[in-house]
Subunit: 308 residues, 2 copies
């Protein structure tokens, strides 16, 4: 057994500014934020560039043995019956004490109890209006300059990666996206069954399924679940359990002393602009060639526990 | 505990052809392969559309407890000192009995023994010529119609996803890509330390690090390794072991009766064209909207155990 070496250790969140000479060789079309790494930009962002995430925009998923996953819900402002359903179901403790039913490598982790098995709680509707897209105007959609394989235009809506065709916009599927499972008919997903994307972002699901959130902490608990051996990653009777959900709660429903406050790098802040620039033009001294572009899923705004 | 429901079960590899009416509503610009799903196209591809992978293009990574990972090496035709080094190091059993040193969620799994600790074997060079790119002409580069966030053009070189700027081409980092770790100086990676990408493809590493292979089987053993708690996912002294490599061998070096033959959907075959089309235009009846595009990392040619 030998100890770790440095290697690509230094690739992400490099410790020091690139010297000017290095930055000059990076081949970037523009010069972002004086050659800082994305990690440095985040570390140095002033407090005013961070925004608190409301406790009723957060889900707390407990998997037992102190495994806690925190999920941010899509913005309330984008009125959406799927999101409303998920909130109503969380308040009703819908997903408590159930096993993860599906873990497909490079695709999704999935769980839930269909509403055919149990009456929906108050506030949830059986057939949410399909709102996989929403009008771009008044959504706060803010374009990010980047080519995209799936959409003419990409950007941010609130803290979420999104895409647009000009008239409508939609949330994109990325690593850690929470979505609403459904059957063949597009109106069959009501939030009782949910999935989280793992691996290569399943962007072909954009506009076909309802995105309702994103994992902001504990994603590794989801991503490391043992894969199911049945077709499409379903957990078979002979598989070891992939995981059991003890509870999913709104953060705001927990006793005050058990709540944790989070903040997100404000997508309207100068630091976020620099972050996007640095993601698109790597000028860290590790890099010799910069792509002049980046995937929208690699520009998701960073989150941290709130500082006081 | 309740049993699994159908839900997005049917999304990938749907069981039946889309009825014509469904296909007509999918909004695709062209009509690929009569509305078959990608899975159907693969299942129905004639034997002549599959190509055997040579046993000396395969690495067999054993992690103990029957956990076996199979890696396909980048094409010999793209002469590359990094690939040659990896082959020489595998023949010398360089990575046997070492622990995985780094598991960073949504980034890389990494291992190796630096050549500062041990003399390089015959056939390996200390400072391989940087060949993160290669001339596009004569590489067999075959463009795939798709917009890309990182490169002007994407395509395939042999069985590998690639990108090009017209003059040069390079292999792209995707989920499961095997690459050569290095330090700050671009010529410091000699194959003694390797990484596999997990999560969101780290495409910003394209042209900055040497891609030498891709996982074709057992990727879940890599992706589910417990993440390291030290900065950048390094395994700390107090972490449980992430995994131990018993051995990495060329498939051709195993005794005949222990060898497994694999074949890949030939990227020059009609079935692969249909596969790419279907990935870009989802016409399965599950989908109501098709993106008219797809990420090059979602078009990687499928592999199967050879049929006789």
């Amino acid at each position: 057994m030998l100890k770790k070496a440095s290697l690509i250790t230094l690739m992400l969140f490099g410790g020091s500014l690139s010297p000017a000479g290095q930055a000059a060789t990076a081949g970037a079309a523009t010069t972002p934020a004086e050659g800082k790494t994305p990690g440095e930009i985040v570390a140095q962002a002033p407090k005013s560039d961070w925004r608190a995430i409301a406790a009723d925009d957060l889900l707390v998923m407990d998997l037992g043995n102190d495994k806690r996953v925190i999920i941010e819900l899509t913005p309330k402002q984008i009125s959406n019956q799927h999101r409303n359903n998920v909130v109503a179901l969380a308040r009703a403790h819908w997903w408590d004490n159930i096993a993860i039913t599906r873990v497909q490598d490079n695709y999704v982790v999935q769980w839930g109890t269909p509403s055919s098995a149990r009456a929906l709680p108050k506030g949830a509707v059986a057939h949410p209006r399909q709102s996989y897209e929403f009008p771009r105007s008044n959504s706060g959609y803010r374009p990010v300059k980047s080519r995209d394989s799936y959409a003419p235009d990409v950007g941010m809506v609130g803290d979420f990666p999104a895409a647009s065709n000009g008239n409508t916009a939609w949330f994109t599927h990325c690593y850690g996206t929470l979505g609403v499972g459904r059957d063949y008919a597009p109106d069959t997903g009501n939030g009782t069954e949910l999935y989280i994307a793992i691996g290569q972002p399943p962007r072909h699901m954009d506009r076909n399924l309802a995105v309702v959130g994103r994992v902001i902490e504990g994603m590794h608990y989801i991503a490391t679940m043992p894969r199911g051996s049945a077709p499409m990653g379903y957990i078979s009777e002979t598989d070891p359990p992939a995981g059991t959900i003890q509870s999913i709660r709104l953060m705001s429903e927990l006793p005050r002393h058990e709540q944790t406050a989070y903040e997100v790098l404000d997508t309207l802040s100068p630091s976020f602009d620099q972050y996007v620039q640095a993601r698109s033009h790597r000028l860290d001294s590790f890099f010799t060639i910069s792509a002049d572009g980046a995937d929208i899923c690699s520009m998701i705004p960073p989150v941290r526990k709130a500082t006081s």
